[in-house]
């Protein structure tokens, strides 16, 4: 640039411009006009002299009579012509240099405008971390940068689907979906190359082309790529007379690089924030859990310590003495069960692998009902046909006992266990039905979470039973859901993989 400037100044000085340090095209033109005017006048004068000289031959007067003067005059004419030509060469060179400079300046100012737009976007985008806001700013800036009429941002969801998440003007409807490789945006996302389309897009080139509502004269579509990963596509289009150029495409491509980083950051921030909220919630639940455990452990201890101290201090009637001993025994076991429950939760997630055996459902369910009957709990059983599942017998028993226990603690008896095969026969469905208040809709989502207890639950428990059930069911390849029964009460449904193997007859009747 500096060298160009020096050359320009030198040329300007050679052609004799007054302000040679800042020559302009106009000054050069003026100078050329002056040069040729002077040249014309001088040439006319010299030519006139020569004609006069030739025609006056014998009547030559004065100076023209001498040969040296004549020769000198011819040389002078030639010299002047050479001078004019030389100046003209320099003037032309200067004109070319000035034109070059003007083009360069124009390009620079365009580039500056582009950079300013990018800087604005960068600032705006970095000032917010909310993804929706980021997308809005990106699209608005892109439209402004290119004086476009409309556009959209489509983001990749899942491995091969694009969804329009931000839309302006006549464009794809918000929420519209495209497969990877489909239509223009899908094509751009797949090829990872920016695309300039002039005139209507061809159906041969783009698979399943989605046309805009209004006719589009020109469109640009660039991929949003961050760290080599395609995040989506930025589309802009013009429906007026505007025709985008390769230069516009390059500018939008550059812009898209920045935009992609911003989108990735906003996404990262949202993920992190969700994670932090999750951790805060878990922390809150843990604090609650400590309070609950403390309460749950204190309750049996109250009976144990109270009975022991009363027995030490007082002479009690023999039957009350026996009652107290029985209470101490029962409450000690309750305490032990609570401790085991806490340990079970720890084990259920990280413990040894569960077995996979063929289990006869009717037999397993009947066993649970019998155990519960010995505790004075009425459990009715219905098993549709001969059902078998692949799973761990102990884990299954634990699941059923916990669900039945849950039904009696939070609901009311009688409790029913029903087992049926799913329609396609691949899963066996075990349902535990109670007559309690059911699970409120607001609690359904978190009823299986660790440490969680229903908002209105006053019954004893540490919020671990159903979590344990869910963990054990899932580790056996099953799933669990809870629904409200039509007549009131909760229905817990456990789905476990059905066994393709029929059990041997003696197993069934054992």
């Amino acid at each position: 640039m500096a060298a160009d400037r020096q050359e320009l100044a030198r040329e300007a000085r050679v052609v004799g411009l007054r302000d040679f340090s800042t020559p302009s095209l106009e000054a050069v033109e003026r100078r050329r006009w002056q040069l040729w005017t002077v040249a014309f006048v001088v040439m006319v004068a010299l030519a006139g002299g020569l004609v006069l000289m030739a025609s006056s031959g014998a009547r030559s007067v004065g100076l023209f009579k001498h040969l040296p003067v004549r020769v000198g005059l011819v040389f002078l004419t030639m010299g002047f012509a050479l001078y004019v030509l030389e100046k003209e060469v320099h003037l032309r060179r200067l004109t070319r240099l000035l034109l070059d400079e003007r083009v360069l300046t124009a390009a620079l100012s365009n580039r500056l405008k582009e950079l300013a737009a990018l800087a604005t976007v960068g600032k705006a985008v970095n000032s917010v971390l909310n993804l929706t806001q980021v997308l809005n700013i990106i699209l608005s800036s892109a439209l402004e940068l290119l004086s476009a009429d409309g556009g959209s941002i489509m983001l990749l969801e899942g491995p091969d689907e694009l969804r329009a998440v931000c839309v302006r003007g006549h464009s794809h409807a918000e929420g519209a979906r495209l497969k990877m490789g489909e239509s223009i945006a899908g094509h751009v996302a797949q090829e990872r190359e920016p695309l300039l389309i002039s005139g209507p897009a061809s159906r041969e080139r783009f698979k399943n082309l989605v046309l805009q509502d209004a006719p589009v004269d020109s469109a640009l579509s660039v991929p949003l790529i961050n760290r080599g990963e395609v995040l989506g596509v930025l589309n802009v289009h013009a429906t007026s007379d505007r025709q985008f150029t390769e230069y516009d495409l390059r500018a939008l491509g550059l812009f898209a690089e920045h935009a992609a980083v911003s989108i990735a950051n906003a996404r990262l921030y949202e993920t992190e924030r969700a994670h932090v909220n999750e951790l805060l919630e878990l922390d809150r639940m843990k604090s609650e859990f400590v309070a609950t455990v403390s309460h749950e452990l204190r309750t049996p201890l109250t009976s144990i310590l109270g009975c022991v101290q009363t027995m030490q201090r007082r002479e009690l009637e023999p039957e009350i003495n026996a009652d107290f001993l029985e209470t101490i025994d029962r409450q000690s076991h309750r305490l032990l069960r609570l401790i085991e429950e806490v340990l079970d939760v720890q084990r259920s997630a990280t413990g040894p692998l569960l077995q996979s055996k063929t289990i006869d459902v009717a037999q397993a369910v009947a066993q649970v009902a019998t155990t519960q009957a010995s505790l004075g709990r009425e459990v009715s059983v219905r098993v549709d046909g001969s059902l078998t599942i692949d799973g761990d017998p102990e884990a299954l028993e634990r699941v059923l006992i916990n669900l039945v226990d849950n039904a009696f603690v939070h609901g009311q008896g009688p409790v029913a266990i029903e087992a049926t095969a799913d329609d396609d026969g691949r899963m066996v469905r075990l349902s535990v039905l109670d007559h309690g208040p059911g699970v409120p809709v607001s609690d359904v989502a978190r009823v299986f979470e660790r440490f969680s207890r229903g908002a209105k639950v006053t019954a004893p428990g540490m919020g671990l039973g159903l979590y344990l059930v869910k963990t054990l069911v899932e580790r056996q390849g099953g799933h669990i859901t809870v629904t409200q029964r039509p007549g009131g009460g909760a229905a817990f449904h456990v789905g476990l993989p059905a066994s393709p193997v029929r059990p041997k007859p003696q197993q069934v009747h054992q």
């Binding site: 403390s294 309750t299 109270g306 009975c307 009363t310 007082r314 409450q331």
Partner: protein, 145 residues
């Protein structure tokens, strides 16, 4: 020392009901029992016990609910909360709702009897003053009248 007062024991644990009944009757108290808040409120109105031993975590109406209803009714019944909930916020909450004493489970029967006797002998004004004093200590503020 033998008493003649009537004590209502409210707890959903039958073992605790039995234990407290034996302890209190051995001291000469007359005892009334309730296993939930609803029953407790009814017996307080109908049988006017001199003091109530109140558990917090109970079905139907819990201990908080009982205290709230008593406060709403302007009841002057003396209440000792007996709960396995042991956090400062729980104790403060009970005192705010009008409980006169708070005993955490597990409790020593002998110590509980001392508390019951103390509450019975204190005048309502003394109990109120004592309640405010404890609440002040717990919350460090004087926001109540």
């Amino acid at each position: 020392m033998k008493h003649t007062a009537r004590v209502l024991i409210v707890d959903d644990e039958p073992d605790v009901l039995l234990l407290l009944r034996i302890e209190l009757e051995a001291e000469g108290f007359e005892t009334l029992l309730a296993a939930d808040g609803e029953t407790a409120l009814r017996r307080i109105v109908e049988e006017r016990p001199d003091v109530v031993l109140l558990d917090v975590m109970m079905p139907v109406v819990d201990g908080w609910g009982v205290l709230q209803r008593l406060a709403d009714q302007g009841s002057t019944t003396k209440v000792i909360v007996l709960s396995a909930k042991a956090s400062t916020s729980d104790i403060a909450h009970a005192l705010e709702l009008g409980a006169h004493e708070y005993v955490t489970k597990p409790f020593e029967p002998a110590a509980l009897l001392v508390t019951v006797a103390h509450v019975l002998q204190s005048s309502p004004a003394d109990l109120e003053a004592g309640r405010h004093r404890r609440l002040e200590q717990l919350t460090g503020a004087k926001t109540f009248s």
